[in-house]
Subunit: 347 residues, 2 copies
């Protein structure tokens, strides 16, 4: 299997290095051969080539069996709203170019981290949510621009029937293998794109009579997610609502540093932590590599069909946590200093 | 003072009735004269007149000194994405018609409810956030429609400089009277409307050198709000992001049933719970009226300049909670059955 590592910006470098180490361990242990290549994206790519998404990165990605992705972003652009070239264009560009329309974000809580969350353990215990975030449509890719000499700015939230249908099918299929509950999140009481979204979900749901479907408005969903996370099984939603809800849901798992994601669709799958580039802690060796390690596990499972190997990785993470090892983001007052690890140590 | 009560749908009727009782108590105690009128909106208005916002409702509102608002919505429309006339058009219509561009949503935690939340008490204690949600722009009011024979649907997220500036000024002014911290929430790494938003906030911030400003992306803000609510003082954001964040923030206060809001701008102020019509509990007498009572307190303070009277209402709520009385939404395991009140009893 041939893997392209696109480390990107900030802690993307540190965490993908550890993710790769874990893949190597798996290869050695199970007798696989994984070969690697590297490609540029984001701020790193802008500095090197002027473009946030060099053509070569697409070519290499399409020629590979899977992509291990880090993060993109840089504070420089965040504080300059007028910048024309931005690191995030690289990430959005690769999602679109590879047709990665389904972003799976499993929110799974390791029992050992029950107390690391700001939410009460009794509310969390047993929570297990699988998000399907649509990833190549919505206000991320609609027409945008300025009018009135730049004094008015707009973006277009837009969905077509087939875009909703294909992500809906993936979500319903997953629900069939789980607790057969699906919650679709939209804002159909206000938005036309959400009304189309809801129509299509209702249609697709007829093909899955066994799946219990509920519709929630995004505002109510954002509230219910922390009030009672256990009520959710599979959640399917659009690109921007999914962006918001899954970051919020990271608090269920204790930290953003724990959450992996898989972006799949028409071509090569891309595996990426849901956290960002975190320039405030870059290079300090304190970044939590578990999201990248768990992304590697998703890669083994989804792109390579190596279920046993994927489980081995998840079990290893569980063992490390059970042994009391913590990065700072998931440490609590009771963690002894000698069990607080740096990124490298966790590999 | 002349007050229009627009009760609307579902529990809107029950809770505004209690809010009005409290206003009457205040009038009697402090020697004010409050006169009332009623007006229709939402599903109730559609049933009676065919329109979710009858002309008369606008006329009466403009002629009044303040509006006590209930809620709008009905499950009938939620499950029918093709409905052309919808209760929510009434609410959006009145916000726009009255120029109520600033929606103030204070998130204040009564100490007695510390344990009612799904979030840990030690994370919550001391949290005190004032949201400024822009209310007459954004994807709520941009052009929307269908294309491709109805198979594509779109909505337009749109902001103009003056719209951002006027809400920014209100938010910065408020920050000056509080802890002088302001967090602006956008998605400027992706959206053009957010980049304009951020530009304007940066400009306005120069006029308030004493206020410490931070910018957060909506996804990070949704996470930080439950990870560490105390880090926020004043939060200013657009219409849709504000809708989502404030519903989420209701969990800080223990329940949506606790949160009041004030919508102010060019004309008569409108005071409204942030909860919805809650048809699942309508008519059962279990709705929490405190959000409506606290909305009445905001009315006394903001529209009538009756600071002392407003404080008296808030203190009364505090006293009721201290005495152990609870509606079901804020009751916990330790609440004795005889202290669980129905809506009417709380008046
Ligand atoms: C970096 C940013 C463009 C991106 C997004 O909004 O999709 C990130 O927040 C994510 O969730 O992957
Ligand atoms: C009912 C709905 C249209 C409304 C909104 O989205 O603004 C509500 O959620 C609110 O927050 O007041």
């Amino acid at each position: 299997k041939h893997i392209v590592v696109i480390a990107g910006d900030g802690i993307g470098q540190e965490v993908t290095a550890v993710g790769k180490q874990v893949l190597d361990k798996i290869a050695a242990q199970y007798g696989h051969e994984f070969t690697y290549d590297e490609a540029l994206i984001g701020h790193a790519a802008i500095e090197a080539t002027g473009s946030p998404l060099p053509e070569e990165t697409i070519t290499k990605s399409l020629a590979s069996d899977a992509i291990l992705f880090g993060a993109v972003g840089h504070p420089k652009y965040d504080n300059d709203p007028t910048a024309k070239v931005r690191p995030e264009q690289g990430l959005l560009g690769i999602r679109k170019a590879l047709g990665l329309y389904a972003n799976l974000r499993p929110i799974k809580l390791f029992d050992e981290l029950l107390s690391a969350s700001s939410i009460k353990p009794e509310i969390l215990k047993g929570a297990d949510i699988l998000f399907f975030r649509e990833l190549t449509g919505d206000v991320y890719f609609g027409e945008r621009g300025r009018k009135d000499n730049g004094d008015t700015a707009y973006d277009t939230m837009i969905y077509s029937r087939y875009e909703v249908e294909r992500i809906a099918i993936k979500a319903f299929d997953a629900a069939m293998t789980r607790r057969k509950k699906l919650c679709s999140v939209d804002k159909a009481n206000v938005l036309e794109s959400s009304r189309l979204w809801r129509e299509v979900i209702q249609e697709v749901s007829k093909r899955y009579p066994e799946v219990a479907v509920e519709h929630q408005f995004i505002d109510a969903a954002a509230m219910l997610l922390i009030k009672d996370p256990k009520r959710f099984d599979v959640v399917v939603t659009g690109n921007i609502f999914g962006d918001i809800l899954t970051d919020e849901a990271s608090q269920i798992a204790g930290s953003m540093g724990m959450l992996a994601s898989a972006s799949v669709g028409d071509t090569t799958g891309l595996y990426e932590p849901i956290h960002g580039s975190a320039h405030d802690i870059t290079g300090m060796g304190v970044a939590n590599p578990l999201a990248s390690i768990l992304s590697a596990a998703l890669m083994l499972d989804i792109s390579f069909g190596m279920k046993e190997e994927a489980d081995a990785v998840v079990n290893a993470v569980d063992k490390v946590l059970k042994a009391g090892y913590r990065t700072r983001d998931i440490a609590d007052a009771s963690t002894p200093a000698d069990k607080i690890l740096n990124t490298a140590g966790m590999g």
